[in-house]
């Protein structure tokens, strides 16, 4: 078998990875320029990719969070709640990230005591608590209809529609690159390497004088921050937030994207997110009432026949080159 989700199949030389990343960036910019409506899709895809980077960190520890979209929702609702008073996007972004990170720390202190199914289910339960509250506290959140985000300013300027789309796209791309590099460095650091230890050799970590919980907590908080960043980006791009962002199927989608893209590289989540959004959009356009089935079938095929995900397939191909 050529590798698995949580462990890279084969290592691609850093130079190859960098080249691929550059190629990807160029392709994304080209596509956004050539096809205006794709700009929106790609912005959302980049944002989700950032959230999936967080999932990837946890996957390295063998842990699946089936409730991670709660952090995305926290970031998004931070924007929705604060935008009327504080319409400055460049402040809302770090604020959303920080608040999500804070939630990540509090929730993390609780959930890092659990492993495997319990870890996944607890995250699921907590995200459902958030979802239910967002849905139920109608006077605050406008319930399932959600809140519209309007009148954002960027460094004090209110750009016209087309400019704002480009600004959001640029922000998302920039942050995707930033977090991609950060996660890449993180995974190469002792903190990142120790994550794999949680999956199989937690005892050994303890007998190296390392607290496995702290290793996992650090990754969890970072992943929550990235979820928050993704949420703020999604909120500012779609300019409408709903509790659906926190529903368990949304979290399932993030894990879906992680597996689709492959966890072998920080590029995986973005590959996965772009493929996911595009398949979804094209499937929805082609067969509006069976897009879910098509996505499900894609997921099934990937897991059964290419468990390394898109990155695994790419890496396999690159690895064979002389």
């Amino acid at each position: 078998m050529s590798g698995t989700v949580t462990a890279p199949a084969r290592r691609v030389a850093p130079i190859g990875e960098a080249l691929l990343a550059l190629l990807g960036i160029a392709a994304v910019i080209l596509a956004a320029w050539a096809v205006p409506w794709l700009k929106f899709i790609l912005t959302v895809a980049l944002a989700k990719g950032i959230a999936v980077l967080g999932i990837l960190l946890l996957l390295r520890a063998g842990q699946v969070s089936f409730g991670h979209s709660m952090f995305l929702a926290i970031g998004a609702y931070t924007v929705a709640f604060l935008a009327p008073a504080l319409p400055e996007a460049l402040l809302l972004l770090p604020l959303g990230a920080a608040i999500a990170g804070l939630f990540g720390l509090v929730i993390g202190l609780f959930v890092v005591r659990y492993r495997d199914i319990f870890f996944g289910m607890l995250n699921l339960a907590l995200s459902m608590v958030l979802y239910s509250l967002l849905e139920k506290l109608y006077s605050l959140t406008k319930g399932t209809d959600g809140i519209r985000v309007s009148g954002l300013r960027f460094a004090g300027i209110t750009p016209d529609l087309a400019t704002q789309e480009w600004v959001m796209f640029g922000l998302a791309l920039g942050l995707a690159i930033l977090f991609g590099l950060l996660v890449r460095a993180y995974l190469g650091s002792p903190m990142g390497r120790a994550l794999a230890g949680i999956k199989t050799r937690e005892t050994r970590l303890e007998f190296m004088g390392v607290s496995a919980r702290r290793v996992l907590l650090a990754a969890y908080v970072l992943s929550a921050v990235m979820g928050g960043v993704a949420g703020t980006l999604v909120a500012m791009t779609s300019r409408h937030v709903t509790p659906q962002l926190a529903y368990w199927t949304s979290s399932g989608e993030l894990v879906f994207i992680a597996v689709l893209g492959g966890a072998g590289s920080a590029l995986g989540p973005f590959l996965g997110a772009a493929a996911f959004e595009l398949v979804r959009v094209y499937a929805a356009a082609a067969v509006a009432d069976a897009w879910q089935m098509i996505l499900g079938a894609v997921l099934l095929l990937v897991i059964l026949f290419a468990p390394g995900g898109l990155w695994g397939m790419l890496a396999g191909r690159l690895g064979r080159r002389p």
Binding site: Y114, F118, M121, V255, A290
Partner: protein, 311 residues
């Protein structure tokens, strides 16, 4: 406190009656999920879809039988037959074609495979049964209502929800406990749940046990759906809600725990009903709060056993 209770005590009593029916339905689904987890070590997200398909199949079959002019009592047969059909057909199909290929792989892949199945089955339901609500409440009507005294007033409850649902759940619980402890097949399932390697070393055909358990679990989910069908109209999306509640029940109970599932289903069912009276805003949050609270105190669930697992 005393005054409050005399005022609300009766109402809470009523809430308990509602909670019981609710708990019975959640239990039927959760216990199948838990059984499957015990043997396959897979949390089956598509379990909720089996619930929904069981419900749809039961309603369709019931309506079909009624259209043949058969008496409404056949509606009950439809519930059982539909559940058996769904479990007996879809169960082996899913296990053989899909799950079998991913045993021993990483947990996340197993979970996602069932998530993929869930997505596919959601649309299959729409393609087969359409989107208009379907309902077939002949079995509920047939049993009529029971007047429960409430102060000077009486409150009508359907006998279906007051007696039949809890009765079937109880019978399932007792039957399952008997099956697992007293029959050879049941003991084999317990053995595989407790220690798969050891069981295989003893010559147990794990493939057969897995297939059997999954089929059985699927039938339980379908039966849960079939039993729910007379009380509700069937619309797209009922599977997604059911499964996430079942997760809460199973995690609260402890993985692989049968009796535990009954007790946590009861806690969650009653908790929700009481919340409708006391704090309706929080009704939806109650199951998850119960789960989180339980896991805070007992990380392995109410009845879960640390490290060594058993049914």
């Amino acid at each position: 406190m005393g005054a409050w209770f005399s005022e609300n005590g009766l109402l809470i009593g009523l809430a308990l009656l509602d909670g019981l029916a609710n708990a019975a339905l959640i239990f039927m689904v959760a216990v199948g999920l838990n059984l499957v987890f015990g043997v396959l070590r897979i949390v089956n997200v598509a379990h909720g879809s089996l619930f929904a398909i069981g419900a749809y199949a039961a309603a369709s079959l019931g309506l079909f039988l009624a259209s043949l002019g058969l008496p409404p009592a056949f509606g009950f047969a439809a519930l059982v037959v539909a559940a058996a059909l769904v479990g007996g057909l879809l169960g082996p199909l899913i296990e053989r074609l899909v799950l079998r290929r991913i045993y021993g792989q990483e947990e996340v892949l197993q979970l996602l495979v069932t998530f993929a199945l869930f997505m596919i089955l959601e649309d299959v339901q729409k393609l087969v049964w359409g989107v208009q609500p379907i309902l077939q409440d002949a079995p509920m009507k047939l049993l009529g209502t029971v007047e429960v005294p409430f102060g000077e007033d009486t409150i009508p409850f359907t006998a279906y929800q007051l007696f039949l649902l809890p009765g079937v759940a109880l019978a399932t619980l007792v039957g399952l406990a008997w099956f697992l402890r007293r029959t050879l097949t049941g003991r084999v399932i317990v053995a595989v749940t407790t220690d798969k390697e050891a069981a295989m070393a003893m010559g147990i055909d794990a493939a057969k046990v897995t297939l059997l358990t999954f089929t059985f679990g699927a039938a339980l989910a379908a039966l849960g759906g079939a039993l729910a069908s007379p009380t509700t109209s069937l619309v797209p999306g009922i599977g997604a809600q059911t499964i996430v509640l079942s997760f809460a029940v199973v995690a609260t109970a402890g993985l692989g725990q049968i009796e535990g599932a009954a007790i946590s289903a009861l806690m969650i069912g009653l908790g929700r009903s009481i919340a409708v009276y006391l704090a309706p805003e929080f009704e939806v949050v109650v199951p998850y709060l119960i789960m989180v609270a339980v896991l805070l105190v007992r990380p392995q669930g109410l009845f879960g056993v640390l490290e060594t697992r058993r049914v």
